[in-house]
Amino acid sequence: MRLELGEILISDVQFGDVCKVENGILYVSKEEISALVLEDEHIKSVEIDLAKPGEEVRITPVKDVIQPRVKVEGKGGIFPGVISEVETVGEGRTHVLQGAAVVTCGKIVGFQEGIIDMTGPGAEYTPFSKLNNVVMVIEPVEGLKQHDYERAARMAGLKTAAFLGELARDLTPDKIDVYETKPLFEQANEYPDLPKVGYVYMLQTQGLLHDTYVYGVDAKKIVPTVLYPTEIMDGAILSGNCVSACDKNTTYHHLNNPIIKSLYAQHGKEINFMGVIITNENVYLADKHRSSNWTAKFTKYLGLDGAIVSQEGFGNPDTDLIMNCKKIEAEGVKTVIVTDEYAGRDGSSQSLADADPAANAVVTGGNANQLIVLPPMKKVIGMLDYTDKIAGGFAGSLRPDGSIEAEIQVITGATNELGFNKLTAQTF
């Protein structure tokens, strides 16, 4: 599969009478977006706002961040199985509004979190402070159940991102990158002297606000399978989870997975990047055994010499991570695992809820228990009234002056386990 990813660079976002892109500026019509979002009978109102890098703006509680994309050549459309028909994507050409994002907010449950600060110390911890964000605060109709509210908010974000992505269809990209993975034997033969490396992509799959979707399927219900990496760039994997926002993959993270991009960067140089094995992180222990057996089986079946394994979340997924690592290593395939840590506020406690000697190559996205003080911002998009109840917050987190003392857990993407952040640790 060969995908051309054409980036249209967006340097600013402004309100306008109609949605359009001109000279690198994304113009957003409140009326057009509202009409689109309010097609859903579950949504009472939507407040649309803009947040740009450097502004004194705090966005919270963030549900998802989505990059506008459109498929311009090749089979299928963006976000297959959800927004577009269930067609296998990942080849042809896709256009991206690079530098822009759709951010959804909503108070689905009382302890929700996810903070994006556009300036100040908090901005350093989230990649989304660098983007021109179209923020939607979504209010449900009276009496709507949490599951339905979550689904409505998720769909509103995806529909808006697809709608804005459509603006890029006929534009000439500022930059085009080409990614290609060939069918298995062909790919193995292309670089016979290089080590064959695969990517085991663990997806959060535990329940409400803890789910991920693959081609529209709830990933709790899949068994591990193999994807071409480019399918993920076309939106084959979508986020439905946001609790403990520091180490949850938003849809933006999936679309721009830096492990996939790094593996492609070394493809044909140091390694032969063979493809992606997706797997889940279910609550039922027998599911964990089955899924980790299958990921290990696939690494061997694909003839891999090495595998990168990335986790999503904490606790329950630590067990999946270690099972994957142990079983893959037992097949004779070397692993590097990517995780984050809950090592206590002083960083001295055990980081993960599970461990094994086979996990001897570990990359960390940082310690989620680290404390931070986020100064007050001039403007809050969304609401702050739940801040004491967020993961990483505590009684007194929200101070009278509007500043917040909390663990970096509260910041969207702060300890991302795909490495889409600046934190890590090194041994000397």
């Binding site: 302890f111 329940g207 403990s244 279910n282 609550v283 599911d287 606790g315």
Partner: protein, 133 residues
């Protein structure tokens, strides 16, 4: 497969909460201390019950949420070392979070209900797997 559920989440006691699942027994504990629930699970594991769902389910950290529901096997057999290891690590982790939480967490009832809902949904996803066959 039948199972027992150990929980401090009253939502599981509601009439239709678990009606689609084949549950042998709901062992309800009237406490907001999640570590007590985990220690009860550990006691059952020592008696030979097997852990069926992960005690650190969900991304809301132990202690940050006061609710936990865990499924175990119905009939005791020989001690399952993996179950014991998982529950032991979970208790250590929960105690660590308790140490971190040095300010009393006062949670209004409406938010407790949201925590109950999330815990219920997490155990339900486990029970769906357990009840497949």
């Amino acid at each position: 497969m039948k199972c027992k559920v150990i929980t401090n989440n009253a939502k599981l006691l509601e009439a239709d909460a678990l009606k689609t699942f084949d549950i042998d027994e709901v062992i309800y504990m009237d406490t907001l201390d999640i570590i007590e629930v985990m220690k009860t699970v550990r006691n059952y594991i020592h008696k030979g019950h097997k852990l069926l769902t992960h005690p650190l389910s969900g991304s809301v950290k132990p202690v940050e949420t006061p609710f936990k529901s865990v499924a175990i096997s119905v009939d005791p057999a020989t001690l399952d070392m993996q179950s014991l290891s998982i529950i032991g690590d979970a208790i250590l982790m929960a105690e660590k979070f308790k140490r971190n939480e040095n300010r009393a967490l006062t949670i209004p009832e409406s938010i407790l209900d949201d925590f109950r809902l999330i815990d219920y949904d997490l155990i339900r996803s486990g029970l769906e797997g357990i009840n497949n066959f």
